[in-house]
């Protein structure tokens, strides 16, 4: 299952500067693992203690994954995954 994963500027040091990289898998967790195997270090920026980091937004086909199962969200061939750091503060 080929999936396009769009990386934010702040994570492009892991992707060799690329705005988008290829991933594969049937769930978001599998896609992230596949991206990690090509771009080591990126997973730790997305996941903490087995869950998505609070201030990282991930979307599958424009749906916030928090509403569709988080890391277990289903991903299919040709889907797009977008990663955006949350804009937040105090």
């Amino acid at each position: 299952m080929a999936v396009e994963v769009r990386s934010p500027t702040i994570l492009r040091n892991y992707t060799g500067g690329a705005k988008a990289v290829d991933g594969s898998g049937d769930t978001l967790a599998e896609v992230i693992d596949s991206v990690e195997s090509d771009h080591p270090g990126i997973k730790d920026r997305l996941i903490e203690e087995g869950d998505l980091r609070r201030f990282i937004n991930v979307y599958v086909n424009d749906e916030d994954v928090r509403f569709i199962g988080g890391l277990t969200a289903a991903v299919g061939d040709g889907d797009s995954v977008v990663i955006l750091p949350a804009v937040a503060g105090g």
Partner: protein, 138 residues
């Protein structure tokens, strides 16, 4: 230095006053590399809090896609402090994820929701280091 039109400056202050005592937040979009961003996009503070802000995630994706389509960047990321000074808090610094952005802080601690004295300051936040910059309103 950050250059802003008077209309954009006024719109940011109006948004901060309108949402007081909750924190207001938004961006000013501009073409990449252009000096003076002109398109203000007020964002929903999903936290609706006097001490915290977070862009609504679904709205953020939509706005970020618009930026891509228009070849723009979030040149300014602004938010208000409603009880403290217009200076990045520890949380602001920890969560700052746009090293290219001007981080504008407004404080409504004196004026509240009304006319009155406000603070308006701009900073770069890069890898935890805060550098204040001049703001020129034209």
């Amino acid at each position: 230095m950050l250059k802003l039109g008077q209309d954009v400056y006024d719109a940011i202050l109006a948004h901060a006053r309108r949402d007081h005592p909750d924190e207001a937040c938004g961006i000013v979009a501009g073409a990449d590399g252009v000096d003076e961003p002109r398109r203000i996009v007020p964002m929903t503070n999903a936290a609706r809090s006097p001490t915290f802000f977070q862009f609504d995630a679904t709205e953020q994706l939509k706005v970020w896609r618009d930026l891509d389509d228009r070849d723009e960047v979030p040149s300014v990321i602004y938010h208000s402090h409603t009880a403290t000074e217009a200076y990045p808090s520890r949380t602001d610094i920890d969560l700052a994820a746009e090293p290219e952005a001007h981080y504008v802080l407004v404080s409504t601690r004196e004026c509240g929701g009304d006319e009155g004295p406000v603070e308006f300051r701009s900073f770069r936040i890069v890898e935890g280091v805060v550098t204040e910059e001049e703001v020129e309103v034209t």
